[in-house]
Symmetry: C2
Subunit: 157 residues, 2 copies
């Protein structure tokens, strides 16, 4: 009887483990996906807010702080977080340049796995004397510090 | 004795299951990743070969045959496989246009999960009268028909 009970317990544990790892897993996965999309949207929102208060370091927090970050734009390649910041400084904060007012639209966040996503969208930059618009593709990865852009490809019309 | 044997068998099955799902899983994952990278490289190689024999339909086989395919270039958005083919036809096969000779370089394939990847690279297009070069970012997904580009962002210098 004891050994039968042991078997029943073993079977009980197996069934319990199955229940725990199968049925609620779908729910957990859905919740995790929703959370990931919201976290990525937050990164983008914070970038726009930082840009519009002329806080380029705040804007750059959305990017992976690594020499492996890549930024493609108009056929050119910039590698590294520092180099990407330098590019932005040169184009938008050097003498005679202005940052203007930035807006993103048509943002589409698509998860490619539990820790990767790609994002498509349009940007519109309104400056006193000019305006610039175009499209971007971002590859996001969930790193120790949260969701970060590991690659940016931007092109203007 | 029988029930003890049953317990031994159950423990044996558990241990066997653990062995099957943990140790060789890492090897299987590595093999699957290597295979995925090779399959993606094949898609790109076949695209270049198709382009260079003026086979635009063959070139387009690398793309997801869906209205949801997106192609970003120079600030503009083309949505859909048919529309992307029409864009290529217009730019490279209409009157007075030529396809030229295509080469890819610095191709970097990075898996983002078992069924997603992103690819960075440079292209160089040599025509009789002109040349064009730039960079591309591709998002790949493993679909029923194999690895396909679901999004392309290309920009030229």
């Amino acid at each position: 009887m004891l050994s039968q009970n042991v078997i029943r317990i073993l079977i009980g544990i197996s069934a319990g483990t199955l229940m725990m790892t199968t049925v609620p897993a779908a729910v957990r996965q859905k919740n995790a996906a929703d959370a990931a999309v919201n976290q990525i949207r937050d990164v983008l929102d914070r970038q726009v807010q930082a840009w519009n208060r002329r806080d380029l370091e705040g804007f750059m927090e959305g990017y992976w702080h690594s020499p492996e970050l890549t930024f493609y734009s108009g056929g050119t390649v910039v590698s590294g977080w520092e180099q990407t910041l330098a590019r932005y400084r040169n184009r938008y904060q050097s003498e005679g340049k202005e940052m203007g007012h930035l807006e993103f639209s048509a943002v589409k966040i698509e998860l490619l796995g539990p820790s990767a996503a790609f994002v498509r969208g349009r940007f519109y930059l309104k400056m006193a004397s000019a305006e610039s618009s175009g499209v971007f593709t971002l590859t996001f990865k969930k790193l120790a510090g949260g969701w970060k852009i590991i690659h940016d490809h931007t092109s203007t019309g």
